[in-house]
């Protein structure tokens, strides 16, 4: 071994090293031999590269510090720096911003196409420009979409990478929003270009890894995703996300708890209401207040005590709620797990709903009521919404939160009908309807295009629109051939009866003896007897142009909205679809309507007098005399009313208040009908059917359906035909619940004049309204509208007579 066998101490990084200048240490060289004791640190280079000639030369050159010669520089491939077109290529107008540049997130996501036009494309676009309007950018966008569209499919078929499936023309059309011709041109160009391009994509992209791992060693595959996490323990981001999720979960659960509590409260209220109702009924039973007089008196008294409409049950229930709520709230506050400080509960003075707002059952809110629902939703503070008293009702009825239905001021809303929708006046009694005469299918002719539609019926749709339902029958071709203008009908060959599908007809017509045998003569008879009608436009009534009673002259039609309905409930065959004719709309002025109303009132008065005479014999007499009633049609009239009522609601009200003084039942009830038409189609269906059904002497089932807002016990008290219509109307009237005081008054007035059966009275009690005074016989009520329709009869008859005359050739 060497003489210098001692070992130098290891270099201690924390030990101070004195710094000397070499000239200060002349004897340093004596120690030079042990200088190398400090182990050489690795250079950090790959060994075989470290030995490269140029590097070694450079290092050795640098070893003599600072001395650098050119040949000691490691040579690299040259770079050129004078691109002639550089100046023109890049604009030279970029001013250095004063502040440091800060990139806004997402500001880089420009919607520019990735595809860049090449010279070949430019030639194509220029060629295309001659034919159609296309720009370079537009072209790029199209190609970009196509490329990206097929790129996805490329990804799907990655396993079979060679079989690149480009988009088809069909898909291209979906991808591109240009006109078809341009798409076709570009698509063809693109698919051709793509085929010749070896890489498969016109936008060059770095190769991506394949899922099957076959690309592990492909040198052209880059930027693979890091599938494995380097460290799993430091996953704070995950924690954050899960914390947020937990927060959300807690919020949702607490919401659910609140909703459940509210449901509980609602059900309790309902139960209490039921008990109260029962109590009232029992008390009345004990008092033998079967007519409801006592109740009415009591309610009237209460009404006097409180000049504003008394709302005993409602206020009770709200008070109950408030207390209950407060209790719940306190309990909640005591619970330790409810960490969140809830907003102080403000007990808003609840605006007392007017007489119209019924606790359960259909209700209409007036503007005052509506305002209370106009509160902002605050998602961040779920409790504020839940616990603000004003929102209780809303929360109960509508727990959908943000997505829930919100009331708007100025709109009237009716509550949803419970149970399946049935009991339409046009549907079969078997289906819960009343099969009203007015909704039977009749021959109908349109103004434009002027032709006979075949069998159709009219009914009032939403917003007072009149819908035409069309029915298929075997004689459609014949019907369509009918010339509406010619006075004579083509041969209306051996007809069947009114189409079998028309259940309403059959049900109403059962009492008509002549209806059953289906031969031509019967048809003719039917037509003559006005049992079979043909509605046609008034423009050419050649026989009777001057007839002042003609319905169409009196009431020009408003535009009918004709909707071909493929399958109707009662219809077996599909109706043929026709283009809807443009509506022939003569303007319908308010004056005309007023005039008409006055006429009506007059007529009704007359008719009522007659009817009241009949009534002496009892209501059964009415039902025994169906013949006179069945054929009466109110189709057009009711439709007109529905439409006109919409327009002239104010007039109507005025009219009604006028009518009050008259004190004639029929008139008032008629106006009630109008109100019903105005407010809701359900009101129509509840009132009008009652008329129809009484006429066919099968009142009970219809009543059952129309009084759907009443308690189930309502029907127990249904007497013979007499009181039933009253009840039905009652139901309708109750539902009407007028928004304006005038309306309320009139309705109340109306109700006082009605005979109200016990069940209806209960309804009224539920509704918390003054009890209607019991007046004369109940049948007057339904007679009114009926007589009204009697008035309509002559013109209609005359019309049909015209058509019948032409029938046989």
């Amino acid at each position: 071994m060497s003489k210098l066998s001692f070992r130098a101490r290891a270099l201690d990084a924390s030990k101070p090293l004195p710094v000397f200048r070499c000239e200060d240490l002349p004897d340093l060289h004596e120690y030079a031999s042990i200088n190398r004791a400090v182990p050489q640190m690795p250079t950090g280079m790959e060994k075989e590269e470290e030995s490269e000639h140029h590097l070694q030369r450079a290092i050795s050159a640098q070893q003599v510090y600072g001395e650098k010669r050119d040949n000691m520089v490691i040579p690299v491939p040259e770079a050129e720096s004078n691109i002639a077109y550089y100046e023109s290529l890049y604009p030279g107008d970029f001013k250095m911003p004063k502040q440091l540049i800060h990139i806004q997130p997402f500001s880089l996501d420009t919607e520019q196409p990735d595809y860049d036009l090449d010279s070949e494309d430019e030639a194509f676009v220029n060629k295309l420009k001659k034919k159609m309007d296309v720009g370079a950018l537009q072209f790029e966008e199209m190609i970009d979409r196509l490329e990206k569209g097929s790129g996805q499919q490329m990804l799907l078929s990655k396993a079979t990478c060679i079989a690149l499936k480009p988009v088809t023309l069909q898909e291209a059309k979906l991808l591109l929003k240009e006109d078809d011709e341009l798409i076709k041109e570009v698509f063809e160009y693109w698919s051709k270009k793509r085929k010749t391009c070896q890489s498969g994509s016109l936008i060059p992209v770095v190769k991506q890894e394949k899922r099957d791992g076959s690309s592990t060693n492909d040198p052209y595959v880059a930027f693979r995703r890091r599938t494995e996490k380097m460290q799993t323990r430091k996953n704070r981001k995950n924690d954050e996300a899960s914390y947020e999720k937990m927060l959300k979960l807690r919020r949702d659960l607490s919401r659910a708890v609140t909703i459940l509590e509210m449901i509980k409260r609602r059900e309790k209220s309902k139960r209490e209401l039921l008990h109260l109702t029962l109590e009232i009924v029992e008390k009345r039973n004990n008092m033998s207040d079967f007519g409801g007089e006592v109740m009415a008196e009591v309610l009237a008294q209460r009404a006097l005590e409180k000049p504003v409409i008394p709302l005993i049950p409602i206020t009770n229930s709200t008070q109950y709620r408030h207390t209950e709520h407060d209790r719940d709230y306190k309990i909640k506050m005591d619970k330790p797990e409810v960490v969140r400080q809830k907003r102080k509960y403000e007990k808003k003075p609840k605006p007392l709903p007017l007489a119209g707002s019924v606790h359960s059952g259909p209700s209409v809110f007036n503007t005052k009521d509506l305002n209370q629902y106009d509160f902002p939703s605050s998602d961040d503070e779920p409790f504020s919404q839940m616990f603000s008293g004003s929102s209780e009702v809303e929360e109960e009825n509508d727990p959908d939160g943000v997505f829930g239905f919100r009331r708007r001021t100025g709109c009237q809303y009716h509550s949803a009908r419970s149970g399946p929708v049935s009991g339409w006046p046009w549907s079969d009694p078997a289906e819960g309807g009343v099969a009203d005469v007015r909704y039977r299918y009749s021959l109908t002719t349109l103004t434009v295009p002027r032709r006979c539609l075949g069998l159709a019926r009219r009914r009032v749709g939403r917003g007072g629109r009149v819908l035409l339902d069309r029915a298929h029958s075997e004689w459609d071709t014949v019907y369509h051939g009918l010339d509406p203008d010619s006075p004579a009908f083509p041969s209306l060959s051996p007809t069947q009866q009114q189409p079998s599908t028309d259940t309403s007809h059959t049900s109403t017509d059962t009492s008509a003896p002549s209806a059953t045998p289906p031969d031509l003569t019967q048809i003719l008879l039917n037509i003559k007897a006005c049992r079979w009608r043909h509605f046609k436009p008034r423009t050419a009534p050649p026989d009777d142009p001057d007839n002042p009673e003609h319905w169409s002259t009196r009431r020009p039609r408003r535009g009918f909205l004709i909707r071909p309905i493929r399958t109707l409930q009662t219809q077996r065959g599909p109706a043929s679809i026709r283009p809807p004719p443009p509506p022939p709309t003569p303007a319908f002025t308010a004056e005309q309507y007023q005039q008409h109303q006055e006429q009506l009132v007059l007529m009704q008065k007359q008719q009522l007098e007659q009817v009241q005479q009949h009534q002496q014999t009892g209501s059964s007499a009415v039902t025994n005399n169906p013949q006179s009633l069945v054929s009466k049609t109110i189709d057009a009239a009711s439709a007109q009313f529905a439409a006109s009522a919409l327009v002239t609601h104010e007039q109507l009200l005025a009219l009604k208040s006028k009518d009050e003084g008259v004190g004639v039942n029929g008139v008032v009830s008629a106006s009630g009908v109008y109100k019903g038409l105005h407010h809701t189609s359900s009101a129509v269906s509840s009132i009008l059917p009652s008329v129809g059904s009484t006429s066919t002497s099968c009142p009970s089932p219809t009543i059952a359906t129309t009084t759907n807002n009443g308690t189930s016990s309502a029907n127990h008290h249904v007497g013979p035909a007499g009181p039933a219509p009253g009840q039905a109307l009652m139901g309708g009237a109750v539902r009407v619940s007028v928004p304006s005081p005038a309306g309320t008054l009139s309705v109340r007035q109306l109700q006082r004049q009605l005979t109200v059966p016990a069940s209806a009275l209960k309804l009224a009690a539920n509704a918390n309204r003054p009890l209607p005074k019991v007046t004369t016989g109940s049948t007057t009520l339904d007679m009114g509208p009926r007589e009204n329709h009697d008035q309509e009869k002559p013109p209609l008859n005359s019309l049909t007579e015209n058509t019948v005359a032409m029938e046989v050739t």
């Binding site: 060994k47 590269e49 600072g66 040579p75 440091l100 540049i101 995703r225």
Partner: protein, 520 residues
């Protein structure tokens, strides 16, 4: 000159005419990597042995000296299929060599060149094997002791063999110390791997690479040092020319640009978003749509015309990937195997009225487990040798200073990287040493840790620099730092030339704690 009767295939070695920097013709030995036939004329892709790959090129047959043709040695060379060639040893060997070279190097000055005798290698392999045996768990304690004793014995024997073999090749000077170190190392058998790793100090765990199963590279860092699975494709430049702004660059290495673009004579890059385009027409079209006039990140430094932009590799993938593709053209060891998510990119730009032009960049792991403060670093060729590289390095250490950490560049370093870093380290450390003032008449003194703290240069790099500059001397029983006249003069001269400096006051940078913000 070329003799067409002999078929020159891949793997053959022969002298190839090359013009050096002084414009002199040289005939360095080169290896044929690839042969292609263009219209009946053969072209050979040659790698000059012991020259950097960036000088590899396609040559015509007339530049080949056929007479001195050496055919590939079948037994010695690994087949080309695996991408392993003579100039590139297989990984297990290399690993062994790495740990071995520690001792070799300490004995031999770098200028003396490589001397890697085979016997040593063999010995080391043996000792490796015994280490493994020793490390394996043995049922009973006595047996275990026995085993370790046996291992110890072998280790010592190997070491002595080692010494002996080295004696034959190496000068005598440092033999004893070397031998001692070597034996010392093997005397601690229980944790051979760790010890070795500490000694090696370089990078990845070398044991793993011996299994021979092709696997995905490690997921940390952006450089590959284990190139054993390299495809021949990646050893050859695939792109002829890149046009970037006003510059045309000749790539040095392979880069995985879309393959269809590699056949083009020029790939056009948008100067600001670095998007690659196949033609000038496309570039023109692209420029009508591209609004960028600076790298799409936040400017965190500006002084004069020099700015630095920080780009998040996860948030701005498109730009990061384009930047990586470009950088790969000039960085041999850079890997683009994985996505850019865990990296931040600091792009240095120079402003003129056309915009902020990219000069160079470095990437940095958001979280480094190995104190790396730079992953890849590159000054674009047109800007090289003008002080920008040092500026980039300086900036990277400024960031580390703000972070309050010491840092080191990811390994392996390239030749240019090593030179640049050494230069930076030297100047930085010398600056400190020269500025040291003596307090109350005593010698100024400083610890290595202090230097490291002041500069944010990792301790090991400080030591290696001091060593490299030959500043550390053992004098009268203690280590001292000595500044020779040459060094001082050279330093002062170099510092005069160093105009570009980073001004820490212009840096607006708040480090993010990426571990708290989730993975990357």
């Amino acid at each position: 000159m070329a003799d067409h009767s002999v078929e020159i295939t891949e793997g053959c070695r022969l002298p190839v005419l090359r013009r050096n920097q002084e414009n002199e013709d040289e005939w360095p030995l080169a290896e044929i990597l690839s042969v292609k036939d263009i219209s009946g004329r053969k072209l050979y892709y040659v790698h000059y042995v012991d020259f950097n790959k960036r000088l590899d090129e396609w040559v015509t047959p007339d530049r080949l000296d056929i007479k001195k043709l050496q055919f590939p040695k079948k037994e010695a060379k690994t087949p080309m299929k695996n991408g392993l060639s003579g100039s590139r040893p297989s990984s297990p060997e290399r690993d062994v060599k790495k740990s071995l070279d520690l001792h070799v190097q300490s004995a031999s000055a770098p200028s003396r060149g490589k001397t890697v005798p085979t016997p040593k290698r063999k010995a080391e392999s043996v000792s490796l094997a015994t280490q493994v045996t020793a490390a394996t768990p043995v049922p009973s304690l006595p047996a275990s002791t026995e085993a370790s004793q046996a291992a110890l014995y072998t280790a010592i024997r190997d070491a002595s063999f080692n010494i002996k073999s080295r004696e034959e090749h190496e000068p005598l000077t440092s033999l004893t110390t070397n031998g001692t170190t070597s034996i010392q190392r093997h005397l601690i058998p229980p944790q051979p791997g760790r010890k070795r790793k500490n000694c090696g100090g370089t990078d990845e765990d070398s044991q793993d690479s011996s299994d021979g199963i092709p696997s995905a590279p490690r997921m940390t860092g952006s450089l590959v040092s284990d190139r054993s699975h390299d495809d021949i494709v990646t050893r050859m430049k695939n792109i002829g020319c890149i046009e970037l702004g006003r510059h045309r660059l000749k790539p040095w290495y392979f880069s995985p640009y879309p393959q269809e673009l590699t056949s083009l004579p020029i790939i056009y890059l948008c100067e600001f978003c670095l998007k690659y385009l196949k033609s000038l027409k496309c570039l023109q079209r692209h420029l009508t749509k591209c609004n960028l006039r600076h790298p799409p990140g936040n400017e965190i430094y500006r002084k004069g015309t020099i700015s630095f932009f920080e780009i998040d590799g996860r948030k701005n993938k498109a730009y990061s990937q384009n930047l990586c593709l470009l950088a790969k053209c000039f960085l041999d060891h850079k890997t683009l195997y994985y996505d850019t998510d865990p990296f931040l990119f600091y792009v240095m730009t120079e402003y003129d009225p056309k915009g902020f032009h990219i000069v160079g960049y470095f990437s940095k792991e958001k979280e480094s487990t190995e104190d790396y403060n730079v992953a890849c670093i590159l000054t674009l060729p047109p800007y090289q040798r003008r002080g920008y590289g040092k500026l980039l390095i300086e900036f990277s250490y400024e960031l580390s200073k703000v972070e309050g950490k010491t840092g080191t560049p990811e390994k392996p370093l390239s030749d240019l990287g090593l030179l640049s870093y050494r230069s930076y380290w030297s100047q930085t450390i010398l600056e400190i040493l020269m500025d040291l003032k003596s307090e109350n008449g005593e010698r100024p003194q400083i610890t290595i840790n202090e230097i490291s703290e002041i500069t944010s240069i990792k301790k090991e790099d400080v030591i290696s620099t001091l060593q490299y500059l030959n500043l550390i001397n053992y004098y009268k029983g203690q280590y001292i730092l000595t500044l020779s006249e040459d060094i001082v003069e050279g330093h002062e001269c170099a510092m005069q030339k160093r105009h570009l400096r980073i001004d820490p006051k212009c840096l607006h940078f708040t480090p993010k704690d990426w571990s708290k913000r989730g993975k990357w």
